[in-house]
């Protein structure tokens, strides 16, 4: 191989150049979303870690139970009862869709179509 040293240096510079964004942001987490949490209520239906990971599962379970299984109340791990309703239970504490749901969903580019039918608190017309 001719000019091995020069070629290797060239490849090295090329790699460094194309990975510049990674070097610039090394060790910093900039895009971490900060959804606004309710001020009065400290505890969600289940604990925070569970809600963060499985809220979609919980909502799916609620919708199946409410509409297809004729149930009204959900009991959480502590034995507390909640009415299964997105608009009447979840959005009572999380009073803004823009400041709560969308904050994370936009970052991870997830667009569930809940709000095509369900009314977000900011959309209510009197």
């Amino acid at each position: 191989m001719y000019n091995t040293g020069k070629v290797l240096i060239g490849i090295f510079i090329f790699i460094i150049f194309f990975t510049i964004p990674f070097w610039f942001n090394l060790g910093k987490v900039r895009a971490l979303p900060k959804p606004e949490l309710p001020k009065e209520e400290k505890k969600c239906v289940e604990d925070t870690e569970y809600m963060r990971a499985y809220h979609m599962k919980l909502l799916h379970e609620w919708r199946t139970k409410k509409i297809r299984k004729m149930q009204v109340y959900y009991m959480n791990q502590e034995g507390k009862l909640y009415i299964m309703s997105l608009q009447r239970t979840c959005m009572k504490c999380h009073t803004s869709k823009d400041k709560f749901c969308d904050k994370c969903h936009e970052v991870v580019v997830t667009h569930p179509d809940c709000w095509k039918c369900h009314i977000a608190p900011e959309e209510v017309r009197k």
Binding site: R63, I67, M70, Q71, S85, C117, I119, E123
Partner: protein
């Protein structure tokens, strides 16, 4: 081996404390199982069959109808679409001939011919719409309510063709644009789904009466058809009632006192 008085008292003390604790624990667990049974039981609606009776003699003025219709449509965010062919309605008013097209009308009284009738989904015992739905978006609950699961509806309109009463409406227009006010407690629908009256299942499950029955101020009756003591059974047995299109044997559960 002898036992000291002090040790004996200690052992008795432990025993008493243990008994009290376990009693308390048992009491709490007992309470918990009551709540668990309550939770399990809430979906159990066997033996319930909801039905409605409308006293058509009591509905006289335009306002009587309007109050009922507005109560339902406002609460369920039903859009007010001006296009008569593609409108959306859950409960509406029509003439005798259109409400009971197969009834013998030649010699009945003029007053009945001119009377207006409140129409809504009949929640049939043998619902044709449920039979044709390809995705089970519409289904019959155990308590007889014909439900519509908007999450599943694909908008194929088979149920509209199947319904003999014209109770089903397709959302040809974006429904939110035709709402003057919104009830934040209930969702709207979206473009391309079929909707209809749901007998206020959400209110019945919470132990309340449907909106229309509440707004009618005694002109409509609601209750369990399987319970011989219920109000609907009493009203049906005391009056002569009609159902819409009885000959196709869908067994409607909305009765009309003539």
């Amino acid at each position: 081996m002898s036992i000291k008085r002090r040790d004996f008292l200690k052992i008795v003390g432990y025993g008493v404390t243990g008994t009290i604790l376990s009693l308390g624990g048992g009491f709490i667990i007992g309470k918990g199982s009551e709540i668990l049974a309550m939770i399990d039981k809430q979906g159990d609606k066997k033996g319930v069959k909801w039905a409605m009776v409308i006293d058509t003699r009591a509905f006289k003025t335009e306002e009587d109808f309007e109050a009922v219709i507005q109560a339902c449509h406002r609460a369920h965010n039903v859009p007010n679409i001006p296009d008569k062919i593609r409108e959306v309605k859950w409960i509406w008013v029509d003439t005798f001939e259109r409400a009971f097209p197969t009834a013998e009308t030649e010699y009945i009284s003029e007053e009945i011919k001119k009377r207006k009738f409140l129409l809504l989904c009949n929640h049939c015992d043998d619902p044709p719409c449920v039979r044709v739905c390809p995705v089970q978006a519409t289904f019959k609950r155990e308590d007889g309510i014909v439900m519509q699961d908007m999450h599943r509806c694909i908008g194929c309109k088979f149920c509209m063709a199947a319904c003999p009463y014209g109770s089903r409406n397709y959302n040809f227009y974006p429904p939110r644009e035709y709402l003057s006010s919104m009830n934040p407690e209930f969702p709207t629908r979206t473009l391309g789904v079929v909707e209809k009256c749901i007998f206020c299942y959400h209110r019945l499950d919470e132990g309340k009466m449907p909106y229309c029955v509440e707004a009618s101020q005694g002109k409509m009756f609601f209750g369990n058809l399987n319970d011989p003591e219920s109000e609907v059974r009493k009203v049906i047995s005391e009056n002569i009632v009609l159902v819409r299109k009885p000959e196709i044997s869908t067994k409607p559960k909305v009765f009309y006192i003539i």
